[in-house]
């Protein structure tokens, strides 16, 4: 049942869009946040950072309402990766806040999250000096 990546990504997108519709209809913030994060991740994987940033920003609203760290740091990681090109300072701030929340409250990035985001975060960190200021 192994699908090609493109077919599988389309299926995932359709499923997540379906979840989002029902979550909005039912007013379920957990499922809304989860669906939007998943759509954002699909866009990151696709390389569509503009739409990814939009998805993660939209996910941050219900994620914050949940008062749970994991959905919030998922959004911040996604935003840091998606905004690294145009908004380096803001992206670095997102990454720093995510790192800090993860250190303080526990949920580390899974090996898969590390693999998915580290190339983006490495680029971001390279642009910043150790004080967090953007390199000129």
């Amino acid at each position: 049942m192994q699908l090609s990546f493109a077919a599988s990504a389309m299926q995932r997108r359709a499923c997540s869009a379906g979840v989002l519709r029902t979550a909005e209809e039912l007013g379920d913030t957990f499922y809304e946040a989860a669906a939007r994060v998943n759509l954002g991740i699909l866009n990151v994987v696709k390389g569509d950072m503009g739409h990814a940033a939009k998805d993660f920003r939209a996910a941050l609203v219900p994620a914050t309402q949940l008062r749970s760290t994991y959905p919030v740091v998922s959004c911040l990681d996604g935003l840091a990766a998606a905004e690294r090109e145009d908004e380096t300072g803001r992206a670095a701030l997102m990454l720093a806040v995510s790192d800090s929340l993860r250190l303080r409250t526990g949920p580390p990035r899974s090996p898969a999250e590390e693999q998915m985001y580290e190339p983006y975060f490495t680029i971001l960190r390279k642009r910043l000096d150790c004080t967090g200021r953007e390199k000129r």
């Binding site: 049942m1 499923c15 039912l26 379920d28 499922y31 390389g47 998922s74 990766a81 899974s110 190339p119």
Partner: protein, 87 residues
């Protein structure tokens, strides 16, 4: 044991029970690396939930189907096509 529970639930006429047990079993299958088994069960669950008007059950099944990426995040499954991409 949980697969046995699934068999018992499937044999009952309680659609709500079938859906809930299937969702649990699909998650467990996924956690144990049976991704195809998990996907197939979630697909059948989404169809059953849609047919019975169970919006929450359908949404739960669809979330699992749609979140290979999230499954990656939770359980660290490697999917080459996703993880090989570099920025």
């Amino acid at each position: 044991m949980i697969e046995g529970a699934l068999g018992l639930a499937e044999g009952s006429n309680d659609v709500d029970l079938v859906i809930r047990v299937r969702l649990h079993v699909a998650t467990l299958r996924s956690q144990h690396g049976d991704r195809d088994g998990s996907i197939s069960l979630n697909e059948r669950t989404a169809e059953l939930a849609a047919a019975s008007g169970d919006k929450l059950g359908r949404m739960m099944a669809l979330l699992s189907l749609g979140e290979d990426a999230a499954i990656l995040r939770r359980f660290g499954y490697a999917e080459e096509s996703v993880l090989c991409r570099s920025p």
